[in-house]
């Protein structure tokens, strides 16, 4: 069964926001929660400092400047320049018939020349993949 993986962000004013909660609730016909967030941070002059995906007790974190393990590797790791969330949908058509429809939630950390993406399939048991892409590719 397809669910709806949510996002949570840390903002440069120290606050945390998440989709489907408060002012970022999903309301039919209104802007999507992420579009609402983009408008919010634009109006307030804020930046996203962390981004994670979560659902049903599972959580997938991107590198951030926020709370993280004490190990030196995390101290030395480069912090992303910016973050992005989006969803991907793909459909295969065999002889005109829908064969498979896939939905993924994607969290992206952007660096100078690269971007790190975590893809989580929006269906139990929520398999996930991480990929690194050149920044010029969509």
């Amino acid at each position: 069964m397809t669910r709806n993986i949510k996002w949570t962000v840390g903002l440069s004013d120290g606050s945390n926001k998440q989709s489907d909660k408060g002012e970022f609730k999903r309301v039919k016909g209104e802007l999507s929660p992420w579009q609402k967030l983009l408008n919010y941070i634009d109006e307030k002059g804020l930046k996203i400092t962390s981004l994670a995906l979560f659902i049903e007790g599972k959580r997938w974190n991107l590198p951030s400047k926020g709370n993280q393990p004490k190990f030196r590797a995390f101290d030395e790791a480069k912090s992303p320049n910016s973050y992005r969330f989006f969803r991907k949908m793909g459909v295969d058509i065999l002889n005109g018939k829908k064969k498979d429809v896939e939905h993924y939630a994607v969290a992206e950390a952007q660096y100078n020349n690269k971007k790190l993406q975590i893809w989580v399939k929006d269906k139990e048991p929520y398999p996930s993949w991480s990929i690194v892409l050149n920044n010029k590719k969509g």
Partner: protein, 172 residues
């Protein structure tokens, strides 16, 4: 919830449902295409082998004769993406493959696609590396339409089964 709905356009649209088949044919429904030629007609065939689009004068896009760009209303395919929330779409792609490996070309056929009024040339959209790129919809909305001209030619005699076409997009 995000959904794709596929239509064969004509004087009226014919929805291609999960049990229907999009048929490239010779001059008439169920007729064969000669090897090396391209489709002279396009139809929607039901699972009971009837011509679902017969009353709708379906559009046909022939790679050999079509003049590009093709107006959105004259494209064979209209794919609608809808969502309960208002979203933008980006990075949409469309291509055919062998049904198994997305980087491989379809087997035994040649496939071309073009995006309606935006494209002045065909894309040999075979395999993900050669996919047709579709324009972004940068204004958030609950519904976005993609108009795609499609044309196919058999490379050899015989029925071609197993090939698929695939559409992917990003939305937020």
């Amino acid at each position: 919830m995000a959904t794709f709905t596929h239509h064969l356009q004509g004087t009226s649209d014919t929805e291609i449902t999960d049990t229907d088949t999009l048929q490239f044919a010779g001059g008439t429904f169920d007729s064969r295409i000669t090897v090396g030629d391209y489709n002279d007609s396009t139809h929607v065939k039901t699972d009971t082998d009837t011509d679902k689009s017969s009353g709708n004068t379906p559009n046909n896009n022939d790679y050999d004769t079509a003049s590009l760009p093709i107006a959105d209303a004259d494209c064979a395919l209209k794919i609608n993406f809808s969502h309960g929330s208002s979203v933008e779409t980006t990075s949409a792609i469309f291509y055919a493959y062998d049904g198994t490996t997305t980087t491989d070309a379809p087997t035994g056929m040649t496939f071309y696609a073009a995006e309606g009024a935006d494209d002045s040339s065909w894309t040999n959209a075979e395999g993900s590396g050669s996919a047709l790129s579709l324009a972004d919809n940068s204004s958030a909305a609950t519904s976005h339409d993609f108009y795609i001209a499609v044309s196919a030619s058999p490379d050899s005699v015989g029925e071609k089964t197993g090939n698929m076409y695939r559409m992917e997009l990003t939305y937020f």
